[in-house]
């Protein structure tokens, strides 16, 4: 079956991203397809290249990156949510004359059309909400 997963929480601050990651792993383990990961609301922070944790802790962003690369997943970060929360790719940084960009490789910025498309194309759609 085709699953799509919506992630609304930032790593560390609450558990949504952690639960979503483990759910995604289990989905693939059970031989389902992941049509799309969609990062929305505070979930966009999962795609930050600047998140810095002590080396002996789980690195939530690089863990997503590995899963995305290994399974060639489509990982979309809502562009409107991302800009408002300080997550930019090179193009947006240039367009808005910002001093840097911080979108991790493997993630792409796109609009809410991709969320609607995921809802239409997937057999199963699940949202992991923030603690707020």
């Amino acid at each position: 079956m085709k699953f799509s997963i919506i992630i609304l929480g930032a790593p560390y601050t609450d558990e949504a991203a952690e639960t979503a990651f483990r759910f995604a792993q289990a989905t693939l383990k059970k031989d389902h397809e992941i049509y799309r990961l969609f990062f929305y609301h505070d979930g966009v922070h999962n795609a930050s290249s600047l998140m810095t944790l002590p080396q002996d802790e789980v690195q939530p962003t690089s863990r997503w990156q590995q899963l995305i690369e290994e399974h060639q997943l489509d990982a979309v970060v809502c562009i409107a949510s991302a800009l408002r929360r300080g997550i930019l790719n090179k193009g947006e940084a240039r367009r808005f004359s910002k001093p840097a960009d911080n979108l991790l490789a493997g993630f792409k910025l796109a609009g809410l059309g991709e969320l609607v498309d995921a809802a239409l194309q997937s057999d199963k759609l699940i949202t992991f909400g923030p603690c707020s």
């Binding site: 699953f3 759910f23 289990a26 199963k124 992991f128 909400g129």
Partner: protein
């Protein structure tokens, strides 16, 4: 058939009590994250109204689950005994989603 997930504690949030009246016969309810504190409904007197709703819903073939990993992380393993909630792991969670027509997240 809808799978309802609840990720907030019933002691701090109305999330679970908002969810339950919208559960239809045959639906499933899964407690995750801080939602797993709801497992206590069966043992805590102050949660009686929620508890009664859960008992009534069970008679309409509503199934109640709790994410085992989140119970363990919180040291609530002993609350599983005699609980109305059946523990599932992440693969069980995926199966619950796979078997449902839709998932409704209460957060």
């Amino acid at each position: 058939m809808i799978l309802h997930t609840v990720n907030k504690s019933p002691y701090s949030s109305q999330c679970l009590s908002d969810c339950l009246p919208r559960v239809a016969p045959g639906d499933a309810v899964l407690l995750i994250e801080d939602g797993v504190y709801g497992i206590n409904c069966a043992v805590s007197l102050s949660m009686t109204p929620v508890n009664e709703t859960i008992l009534r819903l069970r008679e309409t073939q509503v199934r109640f689950y709790v994410l085992r990993e989140d119970i363990k992380a919180r040291g609530l393993d002993d609350h599983l005994k005699g609980s109305l909630f059946k523990p599932v792991d992440y693969e069980g969670f995926v199966d619950l989603v796979g078997n449902a027509d839709k998932v409704l997240s209460w957060y």
